[in-house]
Amino acid sequence: MQRRLILKGLGASAVALPGLAACGTAGGGDVELSDEPVTIRMTWWGADTRAELTNQAIAAFEKEHPNITVKGEFKDWAGYWDALATTTAANDSPDVIQMDELYLASYGDRGTLLDLADTSEYLDTSGFEAATLETGKIDGAQYAIPIGAGMLASVVNADLFAQYGVELPDDTTWTWDDYAAIANELTEKSGGAINGSGLTGGTDAGSVRYWARLHGNELYSEDGEVTLDPAVLAALWEYNLGLVESGGVESAAQSVESQSAGIEGGSLATGKIAMGFGYNTQITPLLAASGADLRLLQLPGNAEAAANFIKPSMYWAVSSQSEHPAEAATLIDFLVNHEAAADILGTERGIPANPAMREHVAADLDEGGRLAVDYIETAVAGPPVAVTPNGGSGFDPMVQRYTQEVMFGERTPQEAAEAFIDELKSEIDAAA
């Protein structure tokens, strides 16, 4: 709590410094549309499909607002964050920024994002549910508007279940014990041709978070402290070690291969495993890559504890360095609130977080979109999750590293869990 206060103090003093001078102007109430032609820059990560759709949406926006020109820039995930950090450091940040939950606090806490309350005249958030908007707030400041929402799901390959004569599980009751039994059965009945499942966790924040919440634990407290219990994390690894041993889960080396091959080349897409975990919106690329009958099931154990959660798949944010916050906000308003934009963008950035847009696009969805929407409507979510604190943006690669060390037998689960939590804490403390 105290750290947060100190941080705010630092943020306030930083306003006076030249590097962040733009913070001052944004709060100063001079947020208004210019009469002159204005050019704003917008940046996002993603593949070619996204770029094509986004550029179409930009063209539609420019037609409605003839004096605003939008220059779009896009990169892949890793290069995106390098570029955003360096352009922000050079005081040359794009005006409109696609933001991820992992980095929201890293940027928000450091005063580089605009509190969108300042631009409410141009960006209407009244259509959003309060809980959804909350996921874009840090210490009460609305630093970002959620674009889409996703939920963790079990992805099963029904073709492989049929091929090896294994019955599809009842996902309204299944537990982690059931999951293990089914995974082992699949491996056995396939004669080792496939493994029942991929790793059930330790590959990203979502899987660890779900497991923790099942055990009444959370990754972070509301005020950004690490609360993950090492024993809980160790149990997650123990569970997987047992399954790797019995063959239900693919080997450590296979997991590494699968992970580095990305979603479209991973074990689930190539049919090397019959069960895995993913976000519901990932079903579209998975279906396309696998060509198999993939389905989204409730997570094991969720029936008892409702530990699943809604994860904003990404956000729009405005840089505090922007010289044209009103125009930037107008663009975001168009992207999240207008049917003309929703018609173009569809569910490519996730199921729209704005309920009106969600309803609007639901009319004509492809198979993947249909499955994803059905899932999010039936899945039971527990309480919302705390925003990843500043310094926690490196969670995924960090937990993957410790998972590998455990799976390759370099550390015991308990040792690794304690070391992981120490490292995570020191990253977060160092960032504060």
């Binding site: 450091a89 590494v256 291969e257 943006s393 993957q400």
Partner: protein, 306 residues
């Protein structure tokens, strides 16, 4: 030649040299601009940043030697040093040995020398590129070409780049494979050795092996030294291969965490640019120390024939 003409010609040479210097300066100017604007400038900046806490998004704050004392307790740094030293100390000697061996073979007047020289040189041109690293990932993946080859021989392969014991080995192999550029330099060096030495040696009844040890090697030591210094510096700076093969993580389980990769992760992945700058300077010191030791040791084994 009389003393006066000698002086006059010296004078002419002097003015020609001056004019040539001027021309050289203009030709070098673009390089100087580059040197100051994109090498020395950032180096000075990073030297300053290495004494600060700098997260890229907020102004840097001076924190004295904290970054350097922090290195002492940084386990991942120690791990990355271990990985990098292994990589340098294994791949450079093997690479140079291979380059020398092939250069000697090619120097024997193989037919189609130009063709072989180009073929062997090709990987050096491509070695540090992203494309080759991607190719490497495919060749040494669990379902890759290498395992298929082994399968034909009835040997069961493994995930060469996805297991910690073998991942670094595949990267060392990749570096060794780019032996072409030292090989070309060796070839040029071999051509410099006067044939009369070999003729004299064979008249004295020295065998081919004896000739290699007593004539070729000693006369080639300056070239070996040059290649050694160059390749060590080059190997310390390796980044692309590990970045692409491990997907930027240095995995599995940090087994391919090159020093430069760790530096990159700290600076860009963790908003830890002050510490990353300090790491960069440590690397400079390490490379400098290696080079200094190399130069010092060269007094004892490098033989200059002139």
């Amino acid at each position: 030649m009389s003393a006066t003409t000698e002086l006059r010609s010296l004078g002419r040479q002097g003015s020609t040299a001056k004019r040539q210097n001027k021309v050289a300066f203009w030709f070098l100017l673009p390089w100087f601009v580059g040197l100051f604007a994109i090498t020395l400038g950032p180096m000075v900046a990073s030297l300053f940043l290495s004494f600060t806490d700098y997260n890229l998004l907020q102004p840097a704050e001076f924190n004295g030697l904290e970054n350097f004392t922090r290195m002492l307790g940084d386990e991942r740094l120690h791990r990355s040093l271990g990985v990098t030293f292994t990589y340098v100390l294994v791949s450079v000697p093997v690479q140079l040995g291979l380059a020398l061996a092939l250069a000697v073979v090619l120097d024997r007047g193989v037919r189609g020398l130009a063709f072989y020289r180009s073929m062997f040189y090709l990987p050096s041109l491509l070695g540090a590129s992203v494309a080759i690293a991607v190719l490497w990932r495919m060749v040494f993946g669990a379902d890759g070409l290498f395992n298929e080859g082994l399968g034909l021989l009835g040997i069961e392969g493994r995930g060469w780049i996805s297991e910690p014991e073998t991942a670094l080995g595949t990267l060392i192999t990749l570096n060794v494979w780019t032996f072409g550029s030292p090989m070309v330099i060796f070839l040029a060096g071999l051509r410099q050795i006067p044939r009369v030495y070999y003729e004299a040696a064979s008249v004295d009844g020295a065998s081919r092996g004896r000739q290699f040890l007593s004539v070729t090697l000693p006369l080639l030591t300056p070239i070996i030294f040059f290649n050694l210094v160059l390749q060590i510096i080059h190997a310390f700076q390796s980044f692309t291969q590990a970045f692409i093969v491990s997907g930027g993580t240095g995995g599995p389980a940090d087994s391919t965490l090159f020093y430069t990769l760790y530096l990159y992760q700290r600076g860009f992945g963790n908003f830890d640019m002050g510490y990353a700058s300090a790491l960069a300077w440590l690397l400079l010191l390490i490379v400098g120390a290696f080079t200094a030791v190399n130069f010092w040791a060269s007094k004892y084994w490098v033989f200059y024939n002139d």
